[in-house]
């Protein structure tokens, strides 16, 4: 009885705060001052057509570094909690997966991997970027592991790809400090013609590393949750 009334009290308190937010919100008419600066000076300073990419990689690059760190930490903790013990790795009976899944995955998986790579390479021209491309690649690889468990990519290769991408991302940021004006600055390479593939300086290369890192991390989380067949 006390617990129920406490729960109702918490919910009414949170609802009151959120209702104040809702009542005090009148729609925006104009961009705020910071967004105005990004919209007007974005194409000259950064050179990318996708403004959200410009904000995530260049203007707020330090937040992306924090996010990459948190993702790495969570993938490491999941892998640590669910250690793979290879005692009877050989005589694990693998059920034969159905015919539809096998055939469909043979057609779908290469298309998904190619589409994921396209999304993060063209991150600065159309909607997309490293996080979306990484999630699509992870979905494709998880489908491949579901359909044909014998052709698994080992855990070691995924860890190596993830670590190299993470270190390269940080090294590119530090190179921004050494050669240009700040962390993750993208004026090291030239800012090309606005709207073509080889434009926006270092942003495609940074996003390629972010996409590989996010993709291999999410695949690693899926593998850890799947492979722990026997318990201590």
């Amino acid at each position: 009885m006390v617990k129920d009334s406490f729960i109702i009290l918490v919910l009414i308190g949170v609802a009151f705060i959120l209702a104040n937010l809702f009542a005090g919100f009148t729609g925006n008419i104009d961009l705020s001052a910071v967004a105005n600066h990004y919209a007007e000076n974005g194409p000259e300073e950064v050179g990318s057509a996708n403004l959200v990419t410009a904000v995530v990689v260049t203007y707020r690059g330090l937040d992306t570094l924090g996010e990459v760190t948190i993702l790495f930490l969570s993938a490491a903790i999941v892998g640590f909690f669910l250690k793979v013990e290879n005692k009877d790795h050989k005589n694990r009976e693998l059920k034969y997966t159905s015919e539809i899944l096998n055939t469909a995955s043979q057609i779908l998986v290469p298309i998904m991997l190619l589409f994921g790579a396209y999304v993060f390479i063209n991150g600065h021209l159309s909607p997309g970027g490293g996080f979306q491309g990484g999630a699509i690649i992870a979905s494709g690889l998880v489908l491949m592991f579901l359909a044909q468990p014998k052709k698994a990519i080992g855990h070691k290769l995924i860890n190596i790809v993830e670590s190299i991408s993470g270190v390269s991302f940080v090294l590119l940021g530090v190179a921004g400090i050494l050669f240009a004006s700040g962390f993750l600055d993208n004026k090291i390479l030239s800012l090309g013609r606005f709207g073509t593939l080889f434009s926006a300086g270092l942003i495609p290369i940074i996003y390629i590393f972010v996409g590989l890192k996010v993709g291999s991390e999410l695949t690693g989380i899926g593998l850890s949750l799947r492979e722990n067949q026997d318990e201590a």
Binding site: V52, Q132, G222
Partner: protein, 81 residues
């Protein structure tokens, strides 16, 4: 005008699915309802002129998150008997 009608329709659908995700006794139905909430929220992001966020929410919220829930459910059922 069409946008507003579509937004009201999506909003009602999201709320009904969210209540179903919390209240239903079957765990499989709850997991699928949570994935469907993410899917319709991704369409709502497209109405709010945010295509990057829509792509991310569709790929991660209703793709990878549902897969992870089903992996864990499978392991628990396998340990059961």
């Amino acid at each position: 005008m069409l946008n507003i009608i579509l937004a009201i329709f999506l909003g009602i659908l999201i709320l009904v699915l969210a209540v179903m995700a919390v209240q239903n006794k079957n765990i499989v139905v709850s997991i699928i309802a949570a994935g469907a909430v993410s899917l319709f929220a991704s369409v709502l992001y497209l109405l709010l002129a945010a295509p990057d966020v829509a792509m991310t929410e569709a790929a991660i919220g209703s793709g990878l998150s549902t897969i992870i829930f089903f992996y864990v459910l499978n392991k628990i059922k396998r340990q059961d008997g």
